[in-house]
């Protein structure tokens, strides 16, 4: 397992994954981690208050997601699951858009995928891995792999969980990526659980080993070590962009919270396990490292704290202020070219809603 920061925040080197990073960059990673966790706690609170229908927490996985997210170049494209709030943060997606989905005012979050080079959240386990393969086929056809132009060469990051490795789609994606040597980085966050099922129910060998059987490299990285995730993903993305094909990264991490706010993890896992992983917290670890190097001055910490508070306030206000969708909007964008049948059904709904208003 690749590690660049040990559990006590001590920096280590790894010959295959050299990482030169400035103090400023280190502090920005810390800021990312803290802010992303704040989004998460705020969203959880909003769900408890009834402002959101559901929330899928990323707590514990911030290191994996910020590491991978910050390894991306702007031209790279990301295919997320429903838990990629940290990666979305790195793609400059306003978290409010994510909350729209969980509030139930939109189906998949309202950002423009092309503006952020990140697809909408995908809820069906594994589906997006095939989309990433197709997108990568397009990238190859566009001549944006191994062209030597680093501002143009493009990689695709496919995110998924440990559970997703059991789906046919994910394995077909491995077949396609290998057969066509596509510029895809498969980024699997092994958070040890697929809802209530431990990863052992999905595989009896470490997940990163799956890749070799399909003919491309797999690597396991400490998912609670943001630096290792950054370095390993960066290298895999570089390989992809330069035409060396796909990599599977298994980011070994932990889902600290329930699967979603609807879940009750006390039914299937014990507190000891959670406590053990709490001791490996990705933010603590970076904090220790920064602290040991004297990079955590009060001014910096205050600025992070303040920014975090502002973000939370904004999320609360924005969530409460989200306009209720118009029921008629269900008929929008079903087709590029609306059908007569749908236009008629829309008319029926409108008439019907109007009639209720008259009565009411």
């Amino acid at each position: 397992m690749i590690q660049l920061l040990d559990a006590d925040g001590v920096r280590r080197d790894h010959p295959d994954y050299p990482l030169s990073i400035s103090d400023g960059e280190l502090r920005e990673l810390y800021r990312d981690l803290v802010l992303v966790r704040r989004i998460d706690t705020e969203a959880t609170a909003l769900q408890r208050q009834g402002e959101l229908g559901l929330w899928a927490s990323l707590a514990g996985q911030e290191g994996a997601q910020i590491g991978a997210g910050r390894a991306l170049r702007s031209q790279d494209y990301v295919f997320p699951t429903y838990r990629e709030h940290g990666v979305a943060w790195c793609r400059d997606i306003d978290p409010v858009h994510i909350l729209e989905l969980f509030r139930g005012v939109s189906l998949a979050g309202g950002w423009d995928p092309s503006a952020h080079n990140m697809n909408l959240y995908t809820l069906v386990i594994g589906s997006q891995t095939l989309h990433s393969v197709g997108f990568a086929m397009g990238v190859v056809r566009d001549g944006m792999v191994g062209s030597g132009d680093t501002a143009a060469d493009t990689a695709v990051l496919a995110c998924f969980g440990d559970g997703a490795t059991s789906q046919g789609d994910t394995n077909e994606a491995f077949v396609w990526a290998a057969a066509s040597n596509l510029p895809v980085v498969f980024f699997c966050q092994n958070n040890q659980w697929a809802i209530s099922e431990p990863v052992e129910k999905q595989s009896r060998v470490p997940l990163y080993q799956r890749a070799a059987g399909f003919g491309f490299p797999g690597v396991r990285v400490d998912g609670n070590d943001v630096l290792a995730c950054l370095a390993v993903t960066r290298r895999a993305l570089d390989d992809a962009r330069s035409g060396q094909g796909p990599t599977l990264i298994e980011a070994y991490t932990y889902r600290m919270e329930a699967h979603t706010t609807s879940d009750d993890p006390t039914r299937y896992r014990n507190a000891d396990e959670v406590a053990r992983w709490a001791a490996r917290d990705p933010i603590d670890r970076l904090r220790k490292h920064l602290d040991s190097r004297g990079l955590l001055d009060a001014r910096f910490l205050d600025s992070v704290g303040e920014q975090s508070e502002q973000l939370a306030v904004r999320l609360r206000a924005a969530t409460r202020a989200m306009p209720e969708p118009d029921p008629l909007s269900a008929f929008d964008h079903v087709y590029a070219e609306q059908t007569a049948e749908l236009a008629q059904q829309r008319g029926q709904m409108r008439e019907f809603l109007d009639s209720l208003e008259e009565v009411g």
Partner: protein
């Protein structure tokens, strides 16, 4: 075991289903449950709560995360003499299993000239109205009802849930068992020992003379509510719970329409190429001279299921049903 819940007090549909699974596991050692998170967790809706503990992991199987695998493995288990009861976690996640359902489960008996039997039950919580996110509110029954070899049923009450699930598991035909998730927590009295009605028979719940109103699964409650309101307006509505979508008990509906002359169908499934259309097609054919108005369909619209904040307007709610009754009577 939890036999204590088998009393005269009302139970929820979830409890009734749990009891049906429990008693099927008790009665037949070949019955086995499989699905995602059905073991320790007891399923995301707790329908299988306690069963892994009581019957062991060999009979209540937490599977890898793959719906094709769940149904494909069930085929092999059936060939080995087992009666697998599969849970698909949500309606929107049944589609990876469609190939195994359509090309294998549905066809193996016919393909083998009756030598192979597929006594597989596929439980799917279905339908909307619970404020869920995308893919968690679908009504996929038409896909299965259009597939010869499959049977498709949906209970609407705890009593039917208990009886019908036991019948489905005992059936030698593969049954898609649709559980109306927004009725999961509604309570009702279950006569635990009653002889059950035939699995595929529709039930006339309310007799009436002006119009026949048909629903199944989640819309039955809505139809009953609508019939009460309509009665206040002096309209006598006959309410039928289809219970089985395939086979469809056409004759019970036709017999009713022969008396009322009018038919309104309420289903959450999309209108076009959906269950309501099938019933309309059959009734216009078999009760042609009795119909005083066209068969009217009150359904989910032909759009993807919408964001939950607007689902109530999208679903076939009571107002829409009453409106259709008005329109039918206006002919």
């Amino acid at each position: 075991m939890a036999a204590h819940i088998r009393g005269p007090e009302p139970v929820s549909m979830v409890q009734a289903l749990n009891e049906a699974l429990r008693s099927s596991l008790e009665d037949d050692p070949k019955v086995l449950l499989m699905g995602e998170d059905i073991g320790a967790l007891g399923g995301v809706f707790r329908v299988t709560a306690g069963l892994a503990k009581d019957f062991g992991e060999a009979r209540v199987v937490d599977t890898p995360l793959g719906e094709a695998g769940i149904i494909g493995a069930a085929v092999g288990l059936a060939m080995r003499g087992y009666r697998p009861v599969c849970e698909i976690q949500f309606d929107g996640f049944v589609f990876p299993a469609v190939d195994q359902l359509v090309t294998q489960v549905a066809k193996l008996r016919n393909r083998s000239r009756g030598l192979l039997s597929m006594p597989i039950t596929v439980r799917i919580p279905f339908g909307g109205g619970i404020g869920a996110i995308e893919h968690h509110s679908e009504s996929p029954e038409a896909y299965f009802a259009h597939t010869p070899g499959l049977k498709v049923v949906a209970p609407s009450t705890p009593a039917d849930a208990f009886a019908m699930l036991r019948q489905a598991i005992a059936s030698d035909d593969p049954v898609i068992f649709l559980e109306p998730k927004r009725r999961y927590w509604d309570k009702g009295v279950v006569d635990w020992t009653a002889l059950a009605a035939p699995l595929h028979a529709a039930a006339v719940l309310v007799t009436g003379s002006d119009v026949t109103l048909v629903g199944y699964g989640p819309t039955v409650r809505t139809c009953l509510d609508a019939s009460v309101v309509a009665a206040q307006e002096g309209r006598s509505v006959e309410v039928i719970d289809l219970r089985s979508i395939s086979p469809l008990d056409t004759s019970t509906v036709v017999e009713s329409v022969r008396r009322t002359g009018r038919l309104v169908i309420a289903t959450e499934a999309h209108a076009s190429f959906g269950p309501a259309s099938e019933l309309a097609a059959r009734v216009q054919e078999q009760a042609f001279y009795s119909l005083e108005a066209p068969v009217l369909r009150v359904t989910g619209y032909d759009t993807p299921y919408p964001p939950s904040r607007i689902e109530e307007d999208w679903l076939p709610n009571m107002d829409r049903i009453l409106d259709a009754i008005d329109r039918s009577l206006a002919y």
